[in-house]
């Protein structure tokens, strides 16, 4: 594990998202509650919709293009045959940390 500091949680709007650019495409950070953030792929497996632009509710996000709903814990799409990659994330005193090793694996895959 190699944790990388991405930014402060308040830079992500509550019930909103921001993206992080990586060499293998964008990752989205979803802020589902005051002190809860999930990291997952930004591209919808349906037709590539930008999930970071979707509506965040509960621990889920709805794709803005055709309303697929993803559980951010597992990445699984509700009632659809599709899943997004999710990434380990830590919150330390308001700082968001992502695991560099997991991101690298994503590039290799």
């Amino acid at each position: 594990m190699s944790w990388i500091d991405i930014g402060h949680i308040d830079e992500v709007p509550l019930h909103g998202a921001r993206i992080v650019k990586t060499r293998a495409g964008c990752i989205a950070l979803f802020r589902t509650a005051e002190a809860e953030v999930f990291a997952a792929a930004d591209a919808c497996p349906h037709k590539g919709g930008p999930l970071s632009e979707g509506i965040v509710h509960g621990q889920s996000v709805t794709c803005p293009l055709h309303n697929w709903v993803f559980d951010l814990n597992t990445g699984q799409a509700q009632g659809e045959d599709g899943r997004i990659a999710t990434y380990p994330l830590r919150l330390e005193e308001g700082r968001i940390l992502l695991d560099g090793a997991a991101l690298d694996k994503r590039r290799a895959a």
Partner: protein, 810 residues
């Protein structure tokens, strides 16, 4: 022992016979099916929608190869039968003979060709089968002129289809008015007007003398000596039963092959006939409803079960979108007959009922045919109409307990009432199917065939679904907003007001939401309701908005955005145009398009460039056009008194003032306005949510128009004398809509629920009007501002939170 059944002709009648046989006893016959057309049974009625482009051949196939294979039918398609040898009991096809025990002749009919010189030239087509239809589609692809000879059902459907495909069409009709066999003069006149309105030329009392041309049709010569240029000539003057095989085989043939009530030929007990090729009791047949009765009887005869065919009245409809006509029974005038006529010239409606001895004997309707089947039922059942004579013409909704609910008319129909005229399916059969589990149109079509032929009864079948399922299921209006709550939209709105709920968490908590903070369906709705009722207290929540409203730009399919600056009332100037051009160049905008709303769309802008392009546009005085919002979109105007010789008022100025008052406001769904300077209505005001038409005496304010998924004309809210009053009425209307409508109902949908009268009364009341305007102004004190200017300041929010592409790999 399986007998050999040979069928000549794979049309709509024989197709139905085979279905009945297979359903009743799949092993009774070993079936061989000949068809001159190189294909099996399809829904011939639907060739007209194929011609006009609304359907494809694949949509109208009744039996495909797999169906024939599954039921063991030997198909000899594309093969003419050339002879019937009754002695040897053989049918001779072009590719060889087949023996039969029983034979069905179902050869349909052949189009009648008027014997004029030139009738055989290439470019002269009849209208009977798919090949004819394809030939017309191909000819229409080259454009040019078409002459359709014959103004009956077939000719007019051909004319409408060809005109839809861009040809310049003339219809020649021998008689004084169109469809004279089905329509009286008045209805014929309305039909003609509608067809002419779509650019088709109609010539009545026009007799064709010859078709002219060297090696293909070039013109039609009339008896009057006049010639009409024609790249395509369609002959649709009538049909005659196709009886050649029967005549040659020595069967008794009058105009059609003569059969008894068991559909057996009068000459040979092993030979049957069905469909348009038969004659029964002096009658010929040209519509499918009686053919389906024949098919049922014939199948039962073949299985040795008693049944008898009886001739019934038939009703006619024309399958040309926008020409609603209905005719049934006998509507000739006569001794002892009485007419009831209803006309609404403004809406192009004509209804005539013919009554004899307290019975309805005929009905002709044009423009509004919704009650057609009800009248048809009265005719067929010879119902006594004394008691309802006064209100008869207003239809079933006005009979009995006077319910104005459209569903109650359907509910009131007796079980024997025929719903699907083509297939003779009555209400009882459909209701039975629904009660047996058929829960949608598809299932009902599969099980009962209702609405599966010409489709004009689809609406009725849907109403039956509603009426029948209504008891078990909640009515659609009471449907909960989404899975997060059991409350419907109306209840949520009411409770937000009455319990003074002023934030989303208050709503989740007090109204018992089942999820922590809603979902993508309820959150945008609740956010709007709060904002509309508590503009000062509720903080608009961008995270409860669909991406377009959150980003103040429309997301495109590739994830880029479009940017549409406001052009007040459609007016612009060189400075604005230069700023738009500069921005387009600077941000590499791939497409610059003039929209249907009188302004310019920059399409394909990258998300992270949005704040910068907005800032640039802002500097030239351009602000957001809210092309993405459930809010005020555009106010279209015409040039009005500024330039136009017909303008009566300053329509451009009024449009700009309205846009400046209303812009930035959020509404249940989008709101579009237009102001036209005179009744010529160049701004298309009569199909907008609010449309104002200026006249000499002032302003006509109409509301509830639509021109998207539904098309609707506005209805008059008020006629006012001054510009200020026009503005006041408009603002009051918009605020009433904001306060009451359900989220995602356009004004016309909302009006259909609350009724225009209620709205008119509220807006007309001076006290209420003032309150509405004041409430709107209060809300606008927060929302009448440019969101682009605000967001341009937060540019960093549009950029990635972090960029790890430069991090060193491990």
């Amino acid at each position: 022992m399986t007998e050999k059944l040979v069928v000549i002709g794979a049309g709509m009648a024989s197709g139905r016979v085979i279905e009945h046989l297979i359903e009743a006893d799949p092993d009774a016959y070993d079936i061989t099916l000949f068809n001159a057309e190189p294909r099996g049974n399809y829904n011939r009625i639907m060739l007209s929608p194929v011609l006009s482009g609304d359907k494809t051949y694949a949509d109208i196939v009744t039996h495909d190869d797999a169906w024939y294979a599954a039921h063991g039918v030997t198909c000899r398609f594309g093969e003419h039968v050339v002879r019937i040898d009754r002695e040897a009991k053989l049918v001779e096809g072009q590719n060889g003979p087949v023996p039969y025990d029983k034979l069905i002749i179902a050869t349909g009919s052949a189009p009648f060709i008027i014997p004029v010189p030139g009738k055989d030239l290439p470019g002269v087509i009849t209208y009977r089968d798919l090949d004819d239809t394809n030939a017309m589609i191909e000819a229409a692809g080259k454009g040019g002129k078409a002459v359709v000879i014959g103004g009956g059902l077939l000719g007019l459907e051909a004319a409408a289809g060809l005109s839809e495909r861009g040809m310049d069409v003339t219809v020649l009709h021998l008689m004084g008015h169109l469809m004279e066999r089905q329509l009286d003069e008045a209805a014929g006149y309305l039909l003609r007007k509608d067809l002419e309105g779509r650019g088709i030329t109609i010539r009545t009392q026009a007799s064709t003398k010859a078709i002219l041309g060297e090696d293909r049709a070039e013109a039609v010569l009339l008896e009057s000596g006049e010639t009409l240029g024609a790249d395509l000539v369609v002959m649709a003057v009538g049909i005659r039963p196709e009886t050649r095989l029967a005549t040659d085989a020595g069967l008794e043939v009058a105009r059609g092959i003569e059969v008894n009530a068991q559909m057996q030929s009068l000459t040979d007990p092993d030979i049957y006939a069905v469909g348009e090729c038969v004659e029964f009791d002096g009658h010929l047949f040209g519509l499918v409803a009686p053919l389906y009765d024949q098919a049922r009887v014939l199948a039962r005869s073949l299985l040795g079960e008693p049944d008898a065919f009886v001739v019934r009245d038939t009703a006619t409809k024309l399958k040309v979108t926008g020409c609603d006509l209905f005719s049934a029974g006998d509507f000739a005038e006569g001794e002892g007959r009485e007419d009831i006529v209803l006309r609404d010239p403004a809406r192009g409606i004509y209804k005539r009922l013919v009554i004899e001895d307290d019975r309805l004997v005929g009905a002709v309707m044009y423009g509004d045919t919704a009650d057609g089947n009800w009248f048809f039922g009265l005719i067929k059942d010879e119902t006594g109409i004394e008691e309802m004579r006064e209100t008869l013409i207003f239809g079933p909704a006005f009979q009995g307990e006077g319910a104005a609910d459209p569903l109650s008319a359907v509910a009131a129909l007796p079980p024997e009432a025929e719903i699907c005229g083509c297939n003779g399916i009555c209400k009882g059969t459909i209701v039975q199917a629904i009660e047996g589990g058929a829960a949608d149109l598809g299932a009902i079509r599969a099980q009962t065939k209702a609405s599966a032929s010409c489709g004009t009864c689809t609406g009725l079948v849907e109403q039956l679904l509603q009426v029948t399922l209504g008891d078990e299921f909640q009515m659609p209006t009471a449907q909960p907003v989404c899975g997060c709550t059991d409350l419907c939209h109306e209840d949520v709105r009411r409770l937000i007001k009455s319990r003074e709920l002023k934030s989303q968490p208050a709503v989740w908590q007090e109204l018992g939401w089942k999820t922590p903070n809603g979902c993508h369906v309820c959150r945008p709705a609740v956010n709007f309701y709060l904002l509309a009722d508590w503009p000062l207290e509720h903080q608009d929540d961008p995270q409860s908005r669909f991406v377009n409203e959150r980003k103040h730009a429309n997301i495109q399919k590739d994830g880029t955005f479009s940017v549409v600056p406001r052009m007040w009332g459609g007016i612009t100037n060189p400075r604005e145009l230069r700023a738009i051009a500069d921005a387009a160049e600077k941000y590499d905008v791939p497409t610059v398009k003039v929209t249907g709303g009188q302004r310019i769309d920059l399409l394909g802008v990258k998300g992270e460039d949005l704040p910068a392009i907005w800032a640039d546009l802002n500097r030239a005085g351009l602000v957001s056009g809210h092309a993405y919002s459930k809010g005020l979109r555009t106010v279209k105007t015409c040039v009005g008194t500024d330039h136009c010789r017909f303008g009566t008022q300053d329509s451009t100025g009024l449009g700009i003032r309205l846009e400046q008052i209303l812009w930035g406001s959020w509404t249940p769904h989008k709101v579009k306005l237009a102001v036209s300077g005179c009744p010529r209505n160049c701004a298309e005001a009569t199909c907008k949510d609010v449309g104002i038409v200026c006249v000499d005496s002032g302003y006509q304010v109409g509301v509830g128009g639509a021109a998207g998924m539904d098309v609707k004309e506005t209805e008059r809210l008020a006629d006012v004398a001054t510009e200020q009053e026009a503005i006041d009425v408009t603002v009051a209307f918009v605020q009433l809509y904001r306060e009451n409508a359900r989220y995602l109902d356009r004004p016309y949908k909302w009006l259909a629920k609350v009724g225009l009268d209620w709205v008119r009364a509220r807006v007309a009341d001076p006290g209420e009007r003032a309150r509405l305007i004041e409430a709107f102004e209060l809300s606008q004190s927060i929302y009448r501002k440019d969101p682009w200017a605000e967001h341009a300041k937060k540019a960093d929010r549009f950029r990635p939170l972090a960029d790890l592409t430069l991090e060193a790999a491990e």
